[in-house]
Amino acid sequence: MQSIDLATQPLRELNSTLQAQSAQTNATAWEILNPRGAHAIAVGLDAPIEVTVRGVTGYYCAGMNKQAHIHVTGSVGPGVAENMMSGAVIIDGDASQYAGATGRGGLLVIKGNASSRCGISMKGIDIVVHGNVGHMSAFMAQAGNLVVCGDAGDALGDSIYEARLFVRGSVRSLGADCVEKEMRPEHLEILRDLLDRAGADAKPEEFRRYGSARKLYNFDIDNAAAY
C-alpha cells in the first residue's frame, strides 16, 4: 500500500499523485495519514484505485470522484463527494452539510449521521445514510436514490424532481411537492441492493418511499403559495 502523510507532504502533492493514476496503475491501494481536517482531500480522482483516509477531513473530501473507492475512517466536513460521477465513497463517521451535493453517479455511504441538505440537487448518485439526515435533505433532488436508515429532518425533498427517497424512521416534515408514494416491488429491489452494497442492517420492508407529486413541474400562479 502506498502512503501519503499530510503531516509532511502538501495537499497539492497528494492530489496530483492520486490524479496521475490511470486504469493501468499497479499502485491500486493508497492510504492518507494525518488528514487533520484538511479541505479538498482526494478530489478529482479518475482511476479504479482504493484510497483510505485515516482520520477526519474538512470540506469537499472526494469531490467530483470518478471510479475511485474512497474510505474515510473518521467524519467529514461539508460537501463530501460533491458532484461525484462514479465509484464509491464510504464514511465511517458523520458527514456535515451538503453530503453528495449534485452527485451524478456512484455510491456514497455515511455510516453515522448526515447534516442538513444531504443530497441537495442530486443528479443520479445513490446515497445511503445509516443514521439520520438533517433538514432540507434532497432539496431540488433530480435523480438517484437517497436512503435514510434513521430519521429525516424538516422539509425533506423540497421541490424534488425525479429522485427516490427511502426513509426507515420518522420524517419531521415533507417539503414542497414531496409526497409519500407507494412502495412497489421494483422499489424494494432497488432498496435491497442499495442496503446490501452499503452494508446497512435494515430490511427494505421497513422503509417508506417519498418522491415528487409533480405538481410544481410547470409554473402555475395558483401554486404560488407552495413556493
Binding site: L11, R12, G44, D46, G63, M64, S159, I221
Partner: protein, 447 residues
C-alpha cells in the same frame, strides 16, 4: 343638446406620469393573466451610462498618437494571480456566459467562431459545455453555476478558465427558470431532468455559502484542475466594493462585475428593472477595492452590462476595468432583433428592437430557441463572421479614442481622460462634470 360649449376652452387630456400607458397596460395584463411578466433584454429604463461620459482628447498638455500608424496595443492577460496558464486575449472584449438551452447549438457555435476569429474568449452557461462550443472556441471559459446542470470534471479540465457565478446583473440574488417549451431531448439529457418541465436554476450554490466557504471551493476547483487555469468570480452589481474585496480575499484571479443592463438572463420584469446597480455605478467602487488591497491589475476586472461600442469599451477601461464582456450586443451581431424578421416579430406582438421574450423559444432569428426549424435559420459560419467583424470594429473604435488621448495601450486610458455630462454620471464615475474640476463626493470639495 350639445356635449360641451365650444366657446369655453377645454382642459387638454393629460396622461399621468405615474400611471403612464405602459404602466396601465401592465396592470391590465397582470389582472388578466395572474402572472408577472418574464422577459430578457436587461433594464430598459434609462439609467446613467457610458453615454453620459465624454473623452477629453489630446491638447497642448497631452499629445495624441497617429491614427493607423502608431501602435495602440489591445492585448490583455486574464488570470495572472495564481493560474499557471493565464488567458491571453488579443482584444479586451470577451463574450459573456449564455447557455446552450437558452441559445441554440448554432448560436453557441457562432459565438465560438466569432470570438475565436477575433482573438478572444467565449463562455459557457447554465447547462454545461457542448462539443460544438468547445470545438469552435479557442478560449472557452466554463461557468460553474448554482444549478450545476451539466457539470462534470472532464469539462472542467477542458476549460481554459472557470467562472464561478455568484450573480448576474439582470437578477442579482435571483435564480432562473428555463421554461418547458425550450427543453428539447438534448437539453433535458444535459440537465438530468425530464423533457418539457420548467427547469429552475438555483439562486445560490448548493455546497457553499459566504466568502469563507468560497475560498475553500476555489481551493477544491484549483486542486481538481491542477492550478492550471484562472478562476473568475462573477457577481451582479449590488455592493461592488465589498463583493470585489471578498472575491479577492477568497482567491479569485479575475472578478467579473455585471451591471443591471446585463440582458441575456430571463427573469421577472420587476426584478430586472428594480434590483441592482447600473454598470457605470459599479466600476469605480470595484476598482477602489482592488486598489485598497493592492490588487489592481494583479486581479483583473471584467465589466459587463450594456457594453455596445468601442467608446463603451474605452470608457470602462479608462475607469479601471481590464476587459469587458458582451452578451446582448453579441446576440444582435449574430442577427437578433434584425429588421428582416419584422413581420414575425409583429405576429409575436412585438417589433424589431423590442423583442425580449428570449425565454419562450420562438425567436424568429433562430438564436434563443431550441426549435429545429427556427434554429436552422442561423448559419453559424456567417453569424460568426458578423460577430468577428463587430468585435474588430469595437476594438478599432476603442483604439481610435485611446490614440486621441495619447495612449499606446488601451489599458493606459485613465479617469483623467474623461468628463461627465450629468451630475449623476459625474458622481458614479467620479470624473469631473464637463467644464469643471468637480464631481459630487470629490474628496475635499465639501460635497
Amino acid at each position: 343638446m350639445k356635449d360641451h360649449d365650444t366657446r369655453i376652452p377645454q382642459t387638454v387630456p393629460i396622461q399621468s406620469a405615474t400611471f403612464s400607458n405602459p404602466i396601465n397596460a401592465e396592470i391590465r395584463r397582470a389582472a388578466a393573466t395572474g402572472i408577472y411578466d418574464i422577459r430578457g433584454g436587461g433594464a430598459k429604463r434609462k439609467v446613467p451610462h457610458f453615454d453620459d461620459l465624454l473623452f477629453l482628447g489630446a491638447s497642448i498638455s497631452r499629445y495624441p498618437l497617429e491614427g493607423y500608424r502608431e501602435k495602440c496595443d489591445t492585448r490583455v492577460t486574464l488570470g495572472t494571480r495564481f493560474a499557471k496558464k493565464p488567458i491571453e486575449l488579443d482584444i479586451p472584449v470577451t463574450i459573456a456566459g449564455m447557455s446552450f438551452g437558452a441559445l441554440s447549438a448554432q448560436a453557441k457555435e457562432a459565438l465560438g467562431r466569432g470570438a475565436s476569429a477575433a482573438g478572444t474568449s467565449t463562455t459557457t452557461g447554465d447547462g454545461g459545455m457542448t462539443p460544438e462550443e468547445r470545438g469552435h472556441s479557442s478560449k472557452l471559459v466554463y461557468q460553474y453555476l448554482p444549478s450545476r446542470y451539466g457539470m462534470n470534471p472532464d469539462d472542467l479540465r477542458r476549460a481554459d478558465a472557470i467562472e464561478i457565478v455568484v450573480g448576474q446583473g439582470a437578477k442579482p440574488g435571483g435564480g432562473g427558470m428555463l421554461l418547458g417549451q425550450k427543453i428539447s431531448d438534448r437539453v433535458a439529457e444535459m440537465r438530468t431532468l425530464p423533457k418539457g418541465i420548467d427547469q429552475r436554476s438555483a439562486c445560490r450554490h448548493p455546497d457553499w455559502t459566504g466568502p469563507d466557504d468560497l475560498e475553500i471551493k476555489i481551493l477544491e476547483l484549483r486542486e481538481i484542475t491542477g492550478w492550471q487555469v484562472p478562476i473568475y468570480v462573477k457577481v451582479g452589481g449590488t455592493r461592488p466594493y465589498y463583493d470585489t474585496a471578498l472575491a479577492v480575499k477568497a482567491g479569485a484571479d479575475v472578478v467579473v462585475l455585471d451591471g443591471m443592463q446585463g440582458g441575456t438572463a430571463a427573469t421577472q420584469d420587476v426584478f430586472i428593472e428594480h434590483v441592482g446597480l447600473p454598470t457605470l455605478a459599479c466600476i469605480r467602487p470595484a476598482v477602489r477595492a482592488l486598489q485598497d488591497l493592492g490588487m489592481h491589475r494583479e486581479v483583473q476586472l471584467v465589466v459587463s452590462g450594456g457594453i455596445r461600442t468601442g467608446a463603451d469599451v474605452a470608457k470602462a477601461l479608462a475607469l479601471g476595468a481590464d476587459a469587458v464582456a458582451i452578451g446582448t450586443a453579441a446576440l444582435i451581431a449574430l442577427g437578433d432583433n434584425d429588421p428582416r424578421w419584422e413581420s414575425e416579430y409583429q405576429k409575436l406582438g412585438t417589433t424589431t428592437g423590442a423583442y425580449d421574450d428570449w425565454h419562450e423559444g420562438r425567436d424568429p432569428a433562430g438564436i434563443t430557441t431550441q426549435d429545429p426549424d427556427l434554429a436552422a435559420r442561423l448559419d453559424p459560419v456567417e453569424a460568426g463572421r458578423r460577430l468577428r467583424n463587430y468585435l474588430k470594429v469595437m476594438t478599432l473604435e476603442a483604439q481610435t479614442i485611446a490614440r486621441a488621448c495619447g495612449h499606446n495601450h488601451l489599458h493606459n486610458l485613465e479617469p483623467e481622460d474623461l468628463c461627465a455630462l450629468t451630475m449623476e454620471a459625474a458622481a458614479m464615475a467620479q470624473v469631473p462634470l464637463a467644464g469643471t474640476d468637480w464631481y459630487p463626493g470629490k474628496p475635499g470639495s465639501g460635497y
